[in-house]
């Protein structure tokens, strides 16, 4: 039921990925091993438990190999499904990744493959990236490409099989503007082709006698997406940094959004770092989205992630660094407010995380 929980699962996975990536730079002589676990819970009756194991090791002086395994256990009785007579459901998603990175200190290239599988979804992702440092390593230019092949199914339905493919390009520049300032800017363009509705959801259309009639969801089979992101890390005082970012997103479904966030990280002594973060998001709905449609239309969706909404994330994190061990723990609270989704006008939740990295 990935399509129903795309946002929830993506959020949990995003946070795991971001922090796992941040913790993945090998510092050991031979390899690093990282184990992370997180728990997501919201008041839409959804709980997601995620556990990952990542290994990264030096193959040569310039090359590293890496792999990870992620398991998501999802239990949900979201409004998306209880009204479709499905009731609470649980499922397991598994993801394996293998990759390699090479760097000579100026040039760097990476290649990764990811395979993800759950009972109604299978995905293959290939990603390549390259970067070059310029001006005495004060400027880094990077270019990444990725391609994803998804096979979409429906739980219990052997006759339902759809394909969804996507490709993306990310161009990025990172600039060390001063000893206290690091800037980065990126542009990402992505194209998705194929099935992009949910076989589980029904859109509501105003019917006779003030009723609402359920229509199977339909969505355009192509989508072009653009995003521009800017980041600024600024050192303050002697051992603190403010990390801020802003992002603007547009696509050809009419969705437009803006994200802004900031965080303050402070080193408390030699080993301990604490960080507080705040992020806000505003979105304008897709051109074909209506909470209850006035009449049957070519495209009908009940995806609240295509509606007008805003969300806020606020979190705190602590990281302790030993000589060969890094431990971090964090908690993030969030709220979504859907202005055009009467079935769930608000969703509140929390994500707790714990990570351990050992250098071998």
């Amino acid at each position: 039921m990935r399509l129903q929980l795309s946002a929830a699962a993506a959020l949990a996975s995003l946070w795991m990925t971001v922090w796992a990536t941040a913790a993945a730079e090998p510092t050991g002589d031979h390899a690093d091993v990282a184990v992370r676990t997180s728990l997501y819970a919201d008041d839409d009756a959804t709980v997601i438990s995620t556990t990952s194991v990542a290994v990264e090791g030096r193959a040569t002086e310039r090359a590293t190999l890496r792999a990870h395994y992620v398991a998501d256990a999802v239990s949900s009785a979201s409004v998306d499904v209880v009204t479709a007579a499905t009731g609470r459901w649980t499922e397991l998603r598994s993801e394996v990744q293998g990759g390699a990175a090479w760097s000579d200190g100026t040039w760097a290239v990476t290649a990764d493959y990811v395979h993800s599988r759950e009972h109604d979804w299978a995905s293959h992702t290939v990603a390549l990236s390259g970067s070059r440092d310029l001006f005495q390593h004060n400027l880094t230019l990077a270019l990444g490409v990725s391609a994803v092949d998804n096979q979409v199914g429906r739980a219990g339905d052997v006759t339902f099989a759809r394909q969804q493919r996507s490709a993306g390009v990310d161009a990025r520049a990172v600039w060390v503007a001063s000893p206290r300032d690091l800037w980065s800017a990126s542009y990402t363009v992505g194209y998705v082709a194929g099935y992009q509705a949910s076989p589980y959801r029904y859109a509501l259309v105003a019917g006779p006698a003030a009723t609402a009639i359920g229509f199977p969801e339909t969505a355009p089979d192509r989508r072009l997406r653009h995003a521009v992101t800017a980041r600024w890390n600024h050192a303050v005082f002697t051992a603190a940094a403010v990390r801020s970012h802003a992002r603007v997103y547009l696509d050809d479904w009419g969705v437009a959004s803006m994200t802004a966030g900031t965080g303050l990280a402070v080193a408390l002594g030699e080993h301990l770092e604490v960080e507080a973060t705040l992020r806000g998001y505003l979105q304008r709905h897709a051109a074909f989205y209506q909470d209850v449609y006035d009449q049957p239309r070519r495209y009908l969706t009940a995806d609240r992630e295509l509606s007008t909404f805003r969300d806020v994330f606020a979190g705190a994190r602590a990281r302790w660094r030993g000589e060969r061990v890094v431990v971090d723990a964090g908690v993030t609270g969030f709220g979504f407010w859907f202005a055009e989704f009467e079935r769930l006008p608000r969703r509140l939740g929390v994500i707790g995380e714990l990570g351990l990295r050992v250098a071998l």
């Binding site: 007579a85 499905t86 429906r154 006759t159 339902f160 006698a209 199977p216 072009l224 009449q295 070519r298």
Partner: protein, 163 residues
């Protein structure tokens, strides 16, 4: 000139696809055939209160002695009203795929998967059997023929109705 060209490129890159909120093309479905032939099939197989005789379901069916629009218990076994028939007709039409009527959920959901049907929660709840074992079932044929343009005279009498 250069600025204008940049604006055009920007709009082209970020602009919406055309026709995203266009109305759906109407499906030609005969109302007398529905009232006289299809409604009895829906009443017989779909309208149980634990199934689609539930106002919280996306596909809701009103029927005598089942779910009623006005909620008046004393009238539960009364004849179906025009509003209820209108809703049933609209709900059934919503499950018709105008581009491939044979793939419509209205006929694929109640059909056993072994015979080409789609997953149907109802089949898992009542002994593992779906409504229609195969496409030769006479009641399946009624639904299918309606989707393929079958018509009925306006005076057709549904048994037990006030039509």
């Amino acid at each position: 000139m250069r600025r204008g060209r940049a604006v055009v490129v920007g709009v082209a890159l970020a602009g919406c696809q055309g026709g995203l909120d266009a109305p759906r093309a109407p499906v030609a479905l005969d109302r007398p055939y529905f009232d006289c032939r299809v409604q009895p099939v829906l009443t017989k197989y779909c309208a149980a209160l634990a199934c689609h005789g539930d106002a919280d379901r996306f596909f809701t069916v009103f029927a005598r002695n089942r779910l009623r629009l006005d909620g008046d218990e004393a009238q539960r076994n009364g004849f179906l009203g025009l509003d209820e028939r209108d809703v049933n007709f609209a709900a059934a039409a919503a499950l018709v795929d105008p581009e491939d009527v044979d793939a419509s959920p209205l006929v694929r959901k109640p059909l056993a998967q072994a015979a080409g049907g789609a997953f149907h929660v109802g089949a898992t709840r009542f002994g593992g059997a779906d409504v229609f074992a195969d496409t030769t079932d006479p009641d399946y044929q009624i639904l299918s023929q309606w989707l393929h343009g079958a018509t009925e005279v306006a005076t057709c009498q549904e048994p037990g109705s006030n039509l």
